[in-house]
Point group: C2
Chain length 378, copies 2
């Protein structure tokens, strides 16, 4: 392998491929990135085993030659090290060459790095084929689908299925749902393709892909789903993730039909008041009480060690019977932020019943939170 490549394109490619590469791995090969130069361009592939990213730098980008391949070939080198080296180079072009099978030479005409490399044939093959159900989704819809659900997934490994986002497509709709049992976030978007499938995708993968595509200019993402893997494709990049096995719990019956008490609030004012009073909640739980009557809406909290705090939120309007409810402040602020609106509604049925945080302008998402039971009057 021998090639000359534009440094900025190379850096973008290696940075993307390295995102899936773990710092440490039970399989030491997985700390590497596989480079492959051929007539299509330079492909970089990194994998953790569970998540695999392959990206192509083509010969030309917008008519401009960014890559010249003198000799085709492959190389396998430490991904994070190569990434750091490219990031530190100052030259606008980088020469890369395999010197016999054991060294990869990287040079910008100023610095020269000879990196120990491993036989590329040792690296496993990863399945990046378009199998199963295939459809396209608008990039911005995908980012919203992720950002409005993924935070509600569990981060605890004791029930692995809850660390996934559950995707369910039918009748031209794609629904994403995430729950850690104390809260539920659900979002639906319309699809052009009428496909039917369900899949449990690791929440972290969904998050990573949303951050990756957010900064691209692609309009659409192609997705293929089998019962084993999900594959995302956009702009010469392929990202494949394992799925989480097992049945996702049904969340439909949690969604309540009727509420009898309603709070209108300015999102920012309510979040700031809750975060302030939560300074005096116990550190692990961050439980806040919301006390509402038609005359007064107040947030308060207390900690046996530190003391107690309270604040009236004058911008809130409540209608319904007086109600006092305890909850994890992180759950409620995340749901309010997901609503993406200055004005939010919270709808209740009772002290110990789940309540719903709503943006009345957007019925494509559902944010439901279960109150915290507490035996101490906070």
């Amino acid at each position: 392998m021998k090639l000359k490549i534009n440094r900025d394109h190379l850096l973008r490619g290696i940075t993307l491929a390295t995102r899936s590469v773990p710092t440490k791995s039970a399989n030491p090969l997985f700390v590497n990135v596989l480079l492959e130069a051929n007539e299509k361009g330079l492909t970089m592939l990194g994998s953790s085993g569970d998540l695999t990213i392959k990206t192509l730098i083509p010969i030309r980008v917008n008519e401009l030659e960014v890559l010249r391949v003198y000799t085709e070939g492959k190389a396998l080198v430490n991904a994070k090290l190569l990434n750091e080296i490219i990031r530190h180079l100052e030259g606008s072009e980088v020469d890369i060459e395999v010197i016999d099978q054991t060294l990869l030479q990287v040079s910008d005409g100023r610095s020269e790095f000879n990196l120990n490399s491993i036989k590329p044939s040792d690296y496993p093959d990863f399945d990046l084929e378009h199998d199963g159900v295939r459809f396209a989704i608008d990039r911005q819809h995908f980012v919203k689908l992720v950002d409005q659900t993924v935070f509600a997934a569990s981060t605890k490994e004791n029930r692995p299925i809850l660390t996934a986002v559950h995707l369910n497509a039918k009748n031209g709709l794609l629904v994403a749902a995430a729950t850690d049992t104390a809260r539920l976030a659900r979002k639906q978007v319309e699809l052009k393709d009428n496909v039917t499938f369900f899949a449990n995708v690791p929440a972290k993968t969904m998050q990573d892909i949303a951050r990756i595509v957010e900064v691209t200019r692609v309009e659409e993402i192609e997705i293929s789903v089998t019962d084993k893997k999900i594959l995302f494709e956009f702009d010469g990049t392929f990202i494949a993730s394992r799925l989480v096995g097992g049945d996702y719990p049904s969340t439909k019956e949690i969604v309540l039909k009727t509420y009898n008490s309603f709070l209108e609030a300015n999102a920012n004012e309510l979040i700031k008041a809750m975060e302030r009073v939560s300074l005096l909640s116990s550190e692990r739980e961050r439980i806040v009480r919301l006390t509402m009557s038609e005359n007064l809406v107040q947030v308060s909290s207390s900690s046996p060690n530190a003391g107690r705090a309270s604040e009236v939120v004058p911008t809130c309007r409540y209608s319904g019977e007086p109600l006092s409810i305890h909850f994890n402040v992180g759950y409620v602020t995340a749901a309010i932020r997901a609503c993406g609106s200055d004005d939010i509604h919270i709808e209740f049925t009772g002290e110990l019943k789940p309540f719903e945080v709503k943006n009345l302008e957007d019925d494509s998402q559902t944010q439901i939170i279960t109150p915290t039971r507490t035996f101490v009057d906070k």
Copy 2:
């Protein structure tokens, strides 16, 4: 205690007093801050036992009333918690009141915090008296004295004396020196006062005080030194630190008189080249080789696992016999940065002899580094 105070002045004061307060301490009282309101203003005092900071918010600042004391008194509350609360308040004025002996009420008219507090009489007395030798130092001179020496102090506790900066004043000069045995940084400044003393001040304290006074507008800092403590005073703030016990090793004989090889370099170019090649040095040591002849100056490094790297530095000029020298790249870049000049000189006597990094325009500082012995040709 009952008072009303400007929120921004209160935040600045509590932030400063909290800098000395540990997150955890063997003495649980030390996580607190002592507030005392009297006719002079509001004093805030925090301490780790080793480092104590007391700062006064006076009644008036630039003719403007920033504080009104209704009832004099004291209170002792958790420092970091009070700091966080004040930071989160949005009102421009804050009311603070001791409610019986056990609660401190903090309110901006919107949020109300009732903080559990401890009997102020339980808190120890700290010695903040001006004892011993007393002198003044220009603030900017003090910051330079610290920044050009403190990095060379040891961070390892096995020889506590080397974690200190050694201060030595006589004949109208104050000299600071720091060494971790592999390098030495020394700086002298002139004093108006002809005082004689020496003291070993914890490097971390010197660093903290430089960062604190850097952002003030005071012209001078008052310093008092005994054989037990050093006290800094400026603008209503008192900072007292314990000294490190024991005799500081003599560093005078390390300073060499004659060099026979000289390197002129652009500081930034040399630092960047060394940091690039050090990407392929072993992670713990970061050893780089500098190979110099009158035709060529090159930096290089290698790691058994990762490979090797080299770079010619065309902006360097060397005069002397060809020389190859290994060193810890962090030591040399720190010394170059301390020089504070675009153009630096490095002067050598041989492969295994200490070398000196110099700013030829500034003979008030000395930066000496011992090469690393290595038995492998890097």
